[in-house]
């Protein structure tokens, strides 16, 4: 698979401080990058563009789930063969993209889900670990998917897989929603070991216990209407 047919989608909101470095790391490996600027008030879009990304700008802030879906839609229009979702806050390693792509090809799967539990979580606070464990338990119970890390932003999918994803959860509940849609698609998925490196910056940007409650509310509300 040519790296040029692999599109990396980076949803970003007010990430001017780090997005340039993140994009540069991905483009150095030869991948195409689309940064979805989710209505940032800072220089996220210009930093990303200067570092070699195509920038798709939401006219206003919609949320990470909406940004990922926009990135998937854009990459599909651009004839991407493999689509990778990658966080903008610098906690993922560009080298792990190859690990996910390799997992897709080796196992003939349509989805490769990054797992910090099979790989490494560097500098992960205990409270964050506890929340993630609870989220993993909840998602395993509700989706039936045998996964070890449900809220890992690093995922790869084939074109066919991406065509089965239609995220309607604009905010953080998309992480659970995408797993439900993977389960519903009946397509093959694998987990692959990746490294998540927590920094003071990524922790400040990360989710809190209140966010976890909001995610549960969003998932519940989504089930109440068509």
């Amino acid at each position: 698979m040519s790296a040029r047919r692999i599109w990396v989608i980076v949803p970003a909101y007010n990430e001017a401080a780090v997005v340039g470095g993140v994009v540069a790391g991905i483009t150095r490996a030869g991948y195409r990058v689309v940064v979805v600027d989710d209505g940032s008030a800072d220089a996220t879009a210009s930093q990303a563009a200067e570092s070699g990304a195509i920038v798709v700008r939401h006219p206003f802030n919609l949320g990470q789930g909406a940004s990922i879906q926009t990135g998937l839609a854009y990459a599909l229009v651009e004839d991407a063969e493999i689509l990778v979702v990658f966080d903008a806050d610098g906690q993922h390693r560009a080298a792990d993209i190859a690990v996910l792509v390799d997992a897709l090809e080796t196992h003939g799967a349509d989805f490769a889900l990054g797992s910090r539990h099979l790989g490494q979580a560097v500098n992960q606070p205990a409270a964050r670990r506890a929340v993630l464990r609870a989220a993993t338990w909840f998602t395993r119970a509700t989706t039936g998917l045998d996964v070890t890390d449900t809220h890992n932003g690093l995922r790869a999918m084939t074109r066919r897989g991406a065509q089965h994803i239609h995220l309607r959860q604009n905010r953080m509940a998309h992480a659970s929603e995408i797993l439900h849609q993977i389960a519903d698609s009946g397509l093959k998925y694998v987990e692959a070991p990746v490294t998540i490196e927590y920094s003071a910056y990524s922790l400040a940007k990360g989710q809190t216990f209140g966010d976890a409650l909001m995610i549960l509310t969003d998932l519940f509300a989504r089930r109440l209407h068509r």
Partner: protein, 110 residues
């Protein structure tokens, strides 16, 4: 009697609202129908309302009717919230189309 007629008219309004909303949000529609039917029954058979109220420890039948009304109001609030979410989905789809079209136009300016 006047109060009963007014409450009946309002509860029939809720039934109509629930019927309209059932297709879009079945859970909300169903609960609203049940609450409105329960309310209608208690408005016209207040003795049963009083007996049920005593059974569940509320005290007076009229209080039970007020509680039913509160439940209906909360259901309508929930429904408004769901409508706002549905509208947000439409806005998101529109914003997405716009964002992608703009990005593609920038990539191929001619």
């Amino acid at each position: 009697m006047i109060a009963q007629l007014i409450l009946t008219a309002l509860l029939f309004g809720i039934l109509f609202y629930a019927w309209i909303e059932y297709r879009r949000a079945p859970a909300v529609g169903l609960f609203a129908v049940l609450a409105a039917l329960g309310g209608l029954y208690f408005v016209w058979v207040p003795a049963h309302a009083t007996r049920l109220a005593e059974l569940v420890g509320i005290g007076r039948g009229v209080d039970l009717i007020i509680y039913v009304w509160v439940v209906i109001s909360l259901l309508i609030l929930l429904n408004l919230h769901l409508k706002l979410r549905a509208q947000m989905e439409l806005i998101t789809a529109l914003a997405r189309e716009l964002a992608i079209a703009n990005a593609r136009a920038r990539q191929s300016p001619q």
